[in-house]
């Protein structure tokens, strides 16, 4: 094989069990074809929080949240004195204002919130003289300026939220608002019908553009994002993923058709396939839903409906993100408030872990006890990525086992590294909380995924994703931070 180009496929929310079942039942022939012709790891681990903006930023930069700066779908911006919401739910968008959500996602996420100290795969490939494409992916920063061209309805809906331009890779496609040079797919979203398919955000549109770009040899690397699996899995639960992946597979098959036959395509084009996170089933019971503003009812808290409101005027702000929550405490009153905040959270039914930074290290508390840890250069115990940790307390908090100088935390994979990777980011708040399995935390607008599926926690159920690559030397035990370096290294080798 002489794979000069690469298609990087991210299927939102795809869990390994569903992937394998879809492949082995014959319902995902295209994914099976890629799997049979490359390497496959069933237990690749998503960064924590296992939520799309944080995880996709890691997928596109190769960095953890503490480095790339994106903690989740929603967080409280202390400097701006308001909640940042990249598009949690229609209800939260109404409370925040649709324009504000669009401004945060399209304008701020890539241009301001994504750290300038990290380079996206597009920026790295551009520096190597290569052309890349991003199709409907949330994090797309690149060096080329693109005009935002909303249709009249979007212009009316989002008014001042839309920036005039965004910077992305040379070939940038973002739903209906930014369309790169490919004209071949302009009609596809009106052909297939249905409300979601009227938008170019549809997976079928992304597949069409990818196919077209491959045929025109318009890009060396195409990031092809399929989001519909996650959407349906939220609504109908993770069990729906096998059906969803069957649909996703049809779109991947269309891409594999680009060079005439799948075999011919694979001769020329490398494929890397993964997900941003998995999903857990959420209980049908109303009492399995945690509402952080209700939890902090006795505190003077910042509420999203207040708009801009500095935390200095209040005690606390809390941002629910599905199966993770970020809690921000007034810095001036922190010493006075801290114990009361922690005790309040410990009393909440359904919360699994509370975690925070403390004196250069990290603390995790649950009903199973408390653990403290810090990263060290030498000594301590090593995790599966080779990081070393000094640990004290009850390993049961992360279901850890230490054997022969190594720590394993299979129910909370790579627990120490992933916890550190978010707690080192101030934007994730002073305390990060995760609910137990089958429990969910309401978002900013009070919406949840009761009876469906959700994700974002440290638990294995939210975290294990498949990783496939037809490129040489794939990472043996990949996490989402290992994908971009793998692809960039492929092109480095080609250029030598």
């Amino acid at each position: 094989m002489n794979q000069q180009r690469v298609v990087y496929i991210v299927i939102d929310g795809m869990g390994s069990d569903a992937f394998e079942q879809a492949c082995e039942s014959g319902r995902a022939p295209a994914l099976s074809f890629i799997r049979q012709n490359g390497s496959y790891v069933r237990d690749s681990i998503a960064v924590f929080p296992t939520i799309t903006p944080a995880a996709t930023a890691s997928l596109v930069t190769g960095e953890v949240p503490a480095r790339h700066g994106i903690p989740g779908m929603c967080w409280y911006d202390r400097a701006a004195g308001r909640f940042v919401n990249y598009g949690q739910s229609p209800r939260s968008a109404i409370i925040e204002g649709e324009s504000e959500v669009i401004r945060n996602w399209l304008g701020f996420l890539n241009a301001r919130h994504l750290s300038p100290d990290v380079a996206t795969v597009h920026e790295q490939l551009h520096d190597m003289g290569l052309v890349s494409a991003s199709i409907n992916f949330m994090v797309f920063r690149g060096v080329h300026e693109h005009r935002v061209r909303p249709d009249p309805i979007e212009r009316l809906l989002f008014r001042k939220g839309l920036p005039d331009t965004v910077r992305g890779p040379k070939e940038l496609y973002i739903a209906d608002v930014v369309s790169g040079p490919s004209k071949a797919c302009r009609k596809i979203h009106t052909k297939r019908g249905g409300p979601i398919r009227r938008m170019k955000a549809a997976d079928s549109y992304a597949a069409c553009v990818t196919h077209d770009l491959l045929k025109k040899r318009a890009a060396d690397m195409i990031l092809f994002y399929l989001h519909e699996n996650d959407h349906h899995s939220h609504q109908r639960g993770p069990a729906s993923q096998i059906d969803n992946l069957e649909e996703a597979d049809k779109n991947i098959a269309h891409v594999l058709d680009a060079c005439g036959s799948w075999e011919a395509t694979l001769q020329e084009i490398g494929f890397v396939v993964t997900a941003d996170h998995s999903q857990s089933p959420i209980s049908d019971a109303k009492d399995h839903i945690i509402d952080l503003p209700v939890v902090f009812d006795d505190f003077n808290q910042v509420l999203p409906r207040h708009g801009r409101e500095p935390l200095e005027r209040r005690d606390i702000a809390a941002a629910g993100n599905g199966r993770v929550g970020f809690v921000y405490v007034n810095a001036q009153r922190k010493a006075k408030l801290w114990d009361r905040v922690v005790e309040t959270l410990q009393d909440v039914d359904g919360l699994d872990q509370l975690m925070w930074r403390d004196r250069g290290g990290y603390v995790v508390r649950s009903e199973r006890g408390e653990i403290r840890f810090a990263q060290v250069e030498d000594g301590g115990v090593r995790d599966e990525r080779g990081n070393r940790w000094m640990i004290s307390g009850d390993l049961g908090v992360v279901d850890g086992v230490i054997e022969d100088g190594a720590i394993r935390t299979p129910e909370y994979p790579l627990a120490m590294w992933r916890i550190k990777s978010v707690l080192d980011l101030d934007r994730a708040g002073d305390i990060v909380v995760t609910p137990k399995l089958t429990w969910d935390i309401k978002d900013l607008g009070g919406a949840d995924h009761r009876g469906g599926g959700d994700h974002a926690s440290l638990h294995v159920q939210d975290s294990v994703i498949p990783f496939l690559s037809t490129l040489a030397q794939p990472p043996a035990r990949p996490s989402t931070v290992d994908v971009t370096p793998h692809i960039v290294e492929h092109f480095r080798k080609l250029s030598r």
């Binding site: 069990d17 394998e20 079942q21 039942s25 109908r236 639960g237 993770p238 069990a239 729906s240 096998i242 089933p281 209980s283 019971a285 399995h288 009903e367 199973r368 390993l395 049961g396 279901d399 850890g400 086992v401 299979p410 129910e411 137990k436 399995l437 089958t438 294995v460 159920q461």
Partner: protein, 180 residues
């Protein structure tokens, strides 16, 4: 595995008569008392999920999800009947025999009174939960290995354990091929 508790994660795959894949995660607290069992089973066209949790005051709760057509009763069951249970017994999983054996101390004590328990029996792959009276009794010893009699309803077997309390040989079900 710790001095008095364990955490486990496992996979079971069965080809016939009904092909399925089953993933589970199990957690005990000190005293080998099960606090959490999550099980996900799936086959052609169906998927089931069970999350059993025992609170500190001994109350069991159960959350289930299912999708597709499996010709079996719905997953889960009445948790009120599990009030006396300290253990889960996951069908066709030799690991879940360890907790009652370790808690009873029967391996150290040797021959003596049988140890009677009620386990929360989780049948597979349907993930139906029901109380199951079970009995462990000393049978014989050979070196460091111990055979215990195990009775559950009409089922009766001699199971071989090592000194750690882990199953070495479960007739008709499992044989350990490497040390843990």
């Amino acid at each position: 595995m710790h001095a008095d508790r364990l955490t486990a994660r496992g996979v079971a795959i069965r080809a016939a008569p009904l092909p399925y894949r089953l993933n589970y995660g199990l957690r005990t607290t000190s005293g080998w008392i099960t606090t959490q069992l999550r099980v996900q089973s799936s086959g052609a066209g169906w998927w089931r999920f069970l999350y059993l949790e025992r609170s500190a005051d001994g109350a069991w709760s159960c959350t289930t999800k299912s999708e597709g057509d499996l010709d079996a009763p719905p997953p889960g069951g009445a948790t009120s009947s599990l009030a006396e249970a300290f253990d889960c017994d996951l069908g066709e999983c030799p690991l879940t025999n360890s907790m009652p054996v370790l808690r009873s101390n029967i391996l150290a004590q040797g021959a003596g009174e049988p140890y009677d328990i009620t386990a929360a029996l989780v049948s597979v792959p349907d993930l139906v939960v029901q109380p199951s009276p079970q009995r462990y009794s000393w049978a014989r010893q050979d070196g460091l290995d111990v055979w215990l009699g195990f009775q559950s309803g009409l089922f009766d077997a001699e199971i071989e354990f090592d000194r750690q309390g882990l199953v070495r040989h479960y007739p008709g079900l499992a044989h350990r091929v490497a040390p843990p």
